[in-house]
Symmetry: C2
Subunit: 351 residues, 2 copies
Amino acid sequence: MHVSSAESREWTVTERRQAVTLRQVAAQAGVSRQTVSNVLNAPERVEETTLRKVQAAIESLGYQPNRTARSLATRQAGLIGYCLARHPGRSLFMDPFLHTLTEAIERTGRRMLVFTAPDGANGLATYADLIAQRAVDGFILSDTVGDDPRHAWLAGRGIPFASFGRTWPAQGEQPGPWVDVDGAGACAEMVGRLHAAGHDQIAFVGWCDPVPMGAAHDRRRGWQEECRRLGLSEQSACADSDSMQAAARATAVLLDEANPPTAIVAASDLLAVGVLTEVRRRKLRPGHDIWVTGFDDSVLAGSVDGGLTTVSQPTAGITSALVRLLDTGAERSGGVLLRGRIVARGSAPID
Amino acid sequence: MHVSSAESREWTVTERRQAVTLRQVAAQAGVSRQTVSNVLNAPERVEETTLRKVQAAIESLGYQPNRTARSLATRQAGLIGYCLARHPGRSLFMDPFLHTLTEAIERTGRRMLVFTAPDGANGLATYADLIAQRAVDGFILSDTVGDDPRHAWLAGRGIPFASFGRTWPAQGEQPGPWVDVDGAGACAEMVGRLHAAGHDQIAFVGWCDPVPMGAAHDRRRGWQEECRRLGLSEQSACADSDSMQAAARATAVLLDEANPPTAIVAASDLLAVGVLTEVRRRKLRPGHDIWVTGFDDSVLAGSVDGGLTTVSQPTAGITSALVRLLDTGAERSGGVLLRGRIVARGSAPID
DNA sequence: CTGAAAGCGCTTACAG
DNA sequence: CTGAAAGCGCTTACAG
C-alpha cells in the first residue's frame, strides 16, 4: 500500500537548518570560542597548526558568522544607507549606477540598505531614524539638489557619508566629501570640438527653471562659457518637462529662428532623443545637416539610429571614489571632480 | 589675539552622540527594562499609567530601539534581500519598480537590502551566504528567466521568498509564490482593440531568440493567439538586440513586405520607439498611416511625440502582492496573475 | 501587571 | 599563543 501523498510530504519538506554557531566550530576544533573568533578576525595571532585545525572545522560545518551578532558586538551595522529618489527621467542613468555602487560597497565587505524618504528637510527624519536604530553606519547620497539640506545635517552630527553630486551652496564650502562629474567641463569640451569641426552656431537644449538639479545649470554654464570664449552666439531653448516631447518643442523653436543652429548640445540623452525626433521630422539628417549631442551615455545613446554622441559618466570611478571618501571620514570636507568622456557616434561625428 | 582656526575647530566638531538605550529609559521611567520592552512590543500587557510614564520617558530621551540587538534576540534580521540585475534596457521599468517595492517592504516595518550576484546557478551562493549570515529574512526575486534555478533552490530550503515573474518550468508546477502581469492577455487585448479599430494586418516586433526573459515569449504568444483567433495573418520580425536601432531594422523588414502591416505591436516601449523612428523616417504618420504600441508605460511612452499607446504594469499591485505572498510562506506554491492596463495615446488612438 | 534571569551569537580587553 | 569573563542591547518565558 502506498503512503498517501499528504503523509509522505511531511517527510520531504526540508527543514530550515539551524544555523551553525561559533560555539560548535570551537567544540569540533577542540579550541575555545575566542580562538575561533581570532581565526576569523585576527589570524596573525594564532598559530599555524591551530589555524588550520579551526579552518577545517569551519569548512566542514559550513560555518558563517552571524552578522547580527557581530554587529551588536562591534557596534557596526555593516550596512550603508542609500535613499532611492523618484526620478523617472533619470532611471536610465541611476539604475545602472546603483548596481555599480552596490558592487563597490560589497567589495568593502558591507552591504547596501536602500530606503525611501520624503524630499527635502522632511526626509531628514528618515536618516535620523536609521542612525538612531543603528541600522546603518553611514550614507551614500545622490540626487542632490541645490542647497540640499542633507549634507550639513549629516556633517553636523558626524555621521559618515559621501555625496554623488554637489549641493552648490549659495555661500561657503560644501559640507562633507563629494564626488561629481565635471558637467561644465564636458559641455565646454563638446562645444570646443563641435567648433573645431566647423560649427559656429551651437545651441543648447536644457530644462526650464525651476530645475532643482544643480548639474543642469552646470552643464549649461559649460556650454555658455565656451561659446562666449569662442565668440559664438548663445542660442538656447528649454524643455518645460523632462521629456522627449518637450525637447522636440524646444528644438522646433530653435530651428524656426532666423539663424538656426548647426549643432545642438542637449543636457541629457532623453532630451537629445527628443531633439533628434524634431530634426528628423524636418527631414534634416543628424550628423550631416545638424549635429546633436546628449549627456549620460545611457542605453538610449547606443540604441538610437546612427548612435548618439554623448558624455559618458565614469560610473566605476565615481562609485569607488564615493566608497573611499565614505571611509576617509565625514568631518573632512572636499570634493573629487571627475572628467566626463565624450563618446562620438553618428549624431555628431566629432573627430 | 585670535584663536587659530585649527584650534577652534577642535571644539566645534560635534561628537557623535552615544545612543540612548532601553536601560536608560527604564531608569528615567522608574520601571524595569522588561516593562519598557513590553511598552514597545506588547503595550496591551501594561497598565495605562505605566504606559504613559514610559512613553514620556521614550519621548523625552528620543529613544529608538537598536535594531541589531532586537534582531539578535528575535532572530529576525528585519531585512529583505533583493538582487539587482544588469538590464540596461529594462532600467526604465525596474528603477521605479524598486522604489515602489521598497515602499511596500517599509510599510511592513522591514527594510530592503540590495545585493549583486552572478547570473544563473553561480548566483545561488550569494543567496546562501545572506541566509547563513542571517543578514536577511527572505528574498524578493525579479528578472526571472526561463527555468530560473533560484525558485526551486529557495523553496527546497524553506527560505521565504516571492517572485515577480514566472519561471516557465518545462514541466511541473512553479516552486513558491509568484506575481506576474498577464503579458499574453494584454497583448491579445491590444490586438483585439486594434482589430476593432479596423486593423487586419497587425505585426509584432519582439526580441530575437535566444531571449532569457520568459515574459518576452508570453507577450508574443498573446499577440499570436489573438491574431489566429481573429483569422489575421501573423507577421512578425525580431530585434537582434535590445535597442531602438534593432527595432527600427526589424520594422524596415516589415514595411518592405508586399503586404505591410497597418499596426505594429512592440514587446517593449524601447522597441516601440525604435519602430516609431523607422515609421517616421518613411514619412508615415504614427496613429494615422500606421499604429504603434509598446509595453511598460515607461517614461518613454509619455515622453515621445504624440505619446505612445502602451501597457501599464500595475506596479503598486505587484509589489503589495509580493509582500503579502512573502509572508504567507514559501512552502505554499501558486501565483497571482495581474492584468496590464492599456493606456491609449497618439501612436494608436484606440477607442 | 511587573521584574529578575537567561539568552541571542558574536567580539574585546585581559590574564595566563 | 590561548582561554575564561564580561558585554553589546535587546526579547522571551517565567515567577511573583
